[in-house]
């Protein structure tokens, strides 16, 4: 019904966090690089990947909801809101279950991707030492 709104709100939140992190990264001295640190990808870039995933997924799912007639261009935009309290309750339940589940799976996928990258870098460094 409106499960994509959860990931949309999360995308906005991640976007704000990315801007703050990037601002702090610019303040730091770029010449100070930890030689032991293998992963040189900045935190802001990592957050950017998560933001892209959340926006992309939300955009495609928003279209699906529009075709299904669950979202409209007229106020209050969500069809369930104009259908009465029972429909609103159902919508909120779906947002709390499917919406949160969607958010968790995207975040988990992002985390697993970063972990794989870290392991591959470790392996590469180990092979280079040998």
């Amino acid at each position: 019904m409106a499960c994509f709104t959860v990931t949309t709100v999360a995308a906005i939140g991640v976007g704000v966090a990315r801007h703050i992190v990037r601002h702090n990264e610019k303040k730091k001295d770029p010449t100070k690089v930890d030689p032991i640190k293998l992963d040189t990808m900045k935190v802001s870039k990592k957050l950017g990947i998560l933001e892209l995933a959340l926006w992309g997924g939300s955009f495609i799912l928003a279209g699906e909801h529009l075709i299904h007639g669950e979202v409209s261009f007229k106020f209050p935009w969500l069809t369930a809101v104009s259908e009465g309290p029972d429909a609103v309750k159902e919508m909120l339940t779906e947002m709390g279950t499917a919406g949160v589940g969607m958010l968790l799976i995207v975040v988990a996928g992002w985390g697993i991707g970063l972990l794989i990258r870290k392991l591959l870098l470790k392996r590469k460094a180990k092979l280079a030492k040998e």
Binding site: G56, I60, L61, H68, E94, G101, V106, G109
Partner: protein, 96 residues
């Protein structure tokens, strides 16, 4: 049905990202991320549908056809906008 379409698009973009090298940076990984996220989100939706007794995959024609077309078209437009935006930003940075 659109879950399978999104999955197919993700596989296509992952293969392009891994095996196709282009002169201009087309960032196929962005497409893989966009369609991958949509696939993951619809997977959860399918799980909830199955739990509700509606079946894991639904085939409602013609609604599903329109959604599948939107998935491919909308996803590609979103991907193109991101790649174009990045290209223009990089160009601006280089000019500075």
């Amino acid at each position: 049905m659109y879950f399978l379409v999104a999955l197919a698009m993700t596989i296509c973009f992952v293969l392009l990202w891994l095996f196709v090298k282009t002169k201009k940076p087309l960032h196929f990984e962005y497409g893989a991320i966009i369609f991958g996220a949509a696939t993951a989100m619809w997977f959860i939706d399918c799980c909830f549908s199955a739990a509700g007794g509606e079946g894991f995959l639904g085939f409602e024609i013609p609604t599903d056809v329109w959604i599948s077309l939107w998935t491919v078209g909308g996803g590609l437009v979103f991907y193109a906008a991101i790649v174009l935006g990045k290209y223009l930003i990089d160009k601006k940075k280089q000019a500075k």
